[in-house]
Amino acid sequence: MSELKDKIRSFIVDNFLFGNDDGLTDGASFLEEGIIDSTGILELVSYIEEEFPFSIEDEELIPENLDSINNVVNYIEKKSS
């Protein structure tokens, strides 16, 4: 597993699953699986903006960029390249 994926997974597990990653797959939709609610998405956004050197535009707030570990990792890689 990549270092980036590890980092995102830990953030999700520590902040939203109380440290218990039981059954959390990299492709699972945060919203559909009830892992993160709308306030949580904003926490995720602010975490990404603090940790990485770019800001997230309003039109980028879409599930394809932010609604699973895989999507977040792909999005960050794309934005950082």
């Binding site: 919203l31 009830g34 709308s38 904003l42 956004v45 602010s46 039109e59 707030l61 879409i62 599930p63």
Partner: protein, 522 residues
């Protein structure tokens, strides 16, 4: 079409299935379900529930996010003569026992999203007959109740013809509302309550079978439920989007599906304005006939920004209601948005709303009293809570707990909640006034003002707000407020956060906000 011939809630679906069988009633991601398909599945579910022993008055609990299965279940339960009790799809294990104990449901229908919570809660002691799960992930061996997989269950052929001897006064739904004490109360709504309110809403919004509603509010919340009922009543369509956390995807789908209506609570609009490309889509929303807002006071700042951002042809309806009123009590005609600033309008057809004093007599225009609503939409009472029922229902109707007044032309205004008033020093303070002042600064997306117990002051004012951008700080906000508010109404501090905690409907969760501050202080 005369809607008044429909006396039970599921008659709306049945009539639309007869009139427009092949019309798409529901759109959710890749699913496009017609009225005929939904009605036939709901009939099937009613028979299957009958086979499980469900009969008139039995409670069936629904723990589903907005989806086709929710809609089929809702109408299937009603067709079986039973009572639909939707609970939040984000329910936590420790919360489940409370509901099951007081509801004694015969069946629970849930999705895999709440399966983990149901498993953790141990529902064995509650004497449930069956649990029907959509796409379960866990094994459910050695349970004292039957467990069915929705996808198999719904394709069975039920034998039982449901005993449908119910009438308009029969209990149809119990919808939970948390109220001021934080203990959930089950609002009992009859078929007549919901049917009458549905007819009124269709009338004043002039809904027709051409209407397509974007639904981002959950159906288990009374406003979400009324979107479903009203559009199924007129043979319109609903588009479900459960991803409002990503507002851009919602706005895009509104354009693609050419929706005619959108509804939200204040935070929905705050986020649409400031965290979505709504303005860029202005030209693509040519079908959007109206936006409606309810679910609490929305600051004029947001109304004004919304008016300036939406296409000119899109009307804005400000509405007011309560779960206890089956949803709706009043609405403001769009042309009065500016000349009746902050009014909630007038009573909807078939409803009367009066402002009553402490002596239970109507007060004169301009004087503040409690908002009291009466009509066929007012609930039967709270489930198993006679005392709470007697506190709010009397011969005058439903006492909302909201304080308001009426102007000389009969327009109504709500100024705050009876139980939200704060005491700072010798002053009675209405937090809504301060929240409005913070919003008027134009620096924040949303704000809440709370009172922290203080030995000297009684309450000490603290605000929590979400800034529009990272450059905004506490003193910017306070200096703007100081231009509008007397010193004693200025919050002692403004805590800036990324987003305020919400309940599922999107309303701000004041008690979570309070916990947040006290947690911060400790």
């Amino acid at each position: 079409m005369n809607l008044n011939d429909q006396i039970l809630i599921h008659h709306f679906l049945e009539k639309s299935a007869r009139d427009f069988p092949e019309k798409v009633a529901l759109i959710h991601e890749d699913i496009r379900a017609t009225y005929a398909q939904i009605n036939s599945k709901a009939d099937q579910l009613a028979c299957l529930l009958g086979d499980l022993g469900v009969t008139k008055g039995d409670r069936v609990v629904l723990i589903l996010e907005n989806c086709l299965e929710y809609v089929v279940s809702y109408y299937g339960i009603l067709k079986a003569g039973a009572v639909a009790v939707p609970l939040s799809s984000d329910i936590k294990p420790e919360g489940i026992g409370f509901f099951l104990k007081e509801l004694e449901p015969k069946v629970i229908i849930a999705s895999n999203r709440s399966e983990r919570a149901l498993k953790a809660a141990d529902i064995t002691p509650y004497n449930i007959g069956a649990l029907i799960l959509r796409s379960p992930k866990f094994k459910w061996d050695s349970t004292t109740f039957s467990v069915f997989v929705w996808e198999d269950f719904i394709n069975e052929k039920g034998n039982f013809a449901p005993d449908i001897k119910i009438d308009e006064s029969s209990l149809a739904c119990i919808i939970y509302t948390s109220g001021s004490t934080g203990i959930p109360k089950g609002v009992m709504l009859s078929h007549k309550n919901i049917v009458s309110n549905t007819n009124s809403i269709c009338e004043y919004l002039r809904l027709t079978n051409k209407d397509i509603q974007m639904v981002v509010l959950p159906f288990f919340y009374v406003m979400g439920k009324s979107l479903l009922n009203t559009h199924f009543a007129v043979g319109g369509s609903v588009v479900i989007n459960n991803k409002f956390a990503f507002p851009a995807s919602v706005v895009k789908q509104m354009a693609v599906e050419q929706v005619t209506g959108f509804s939200g609570v204040p935070s929905t609009y705050a986020y649409l304005l400031h965290r979505s490309p709504l303005a860029d889509y202005r030209k693509s929303l040519d079908s959007l006939r109206y936006c409606s807002q309810a679910g609490g006071h929305m600051s004029f700042q947001i109304k004004d920004e919304l008016r300036k951002t939406l296409p000119a042809h899109t009307e804005i309806y400000i509405m007011y209601g309560a779960t206890e009123a089956s949803a709706r009590l009043t609405y403001l005609e769009p042309e009065h948005l500016y000349d009746r600033k902050d009014s909630i309008g007038k009573a909807i057809p078939g409803v009367t709303v009066r402002i009553m004093g402490a002596d239970n007599k109507e007060v004169s225009p301009g004087r503040i009293g409690e908002v009291v609503g009466a009509g066929a939409n007012i609930m039967q009472g709270y489930w198993k809570d006679k005392q709470a029922t007697e506190r709010v229902l009397d011969k005058n109707g439903y006492h909302t707990g909201d304080l308001g007044y009426q102007d000389k032309e009969g327009f109504l205004y709500v100024v705050g909640r009876k139980d939200n008033l704060l005491k700072v020093g010798g002053h009675r303070i209405n937090p809504q006034e301060i929240e409005d002042a913070i919003m008027e600064s134009g620096l924040v997306i949303e704000a809440v003002v709370l009172g922290l117990p203080d030995e000297l002051l009684g309450d000490k004012l603290v605000a929590i707000a979400t800034p529009k951008d990272g450059d905004v700080n506490e003193s910017h906000i306070l200096s703007k407020c100081a231009q509008k508010l007397p010193r004693y109404k200025l919050p002692g501090s403004v805590i800036l956060v990324k987003g305020l905690p919400k309940i599922n409907s999107g309303k701000i969760n004041r008690s979570k906000c309070l916990e947040f501050i006290t947690g911060n202080k400790d």
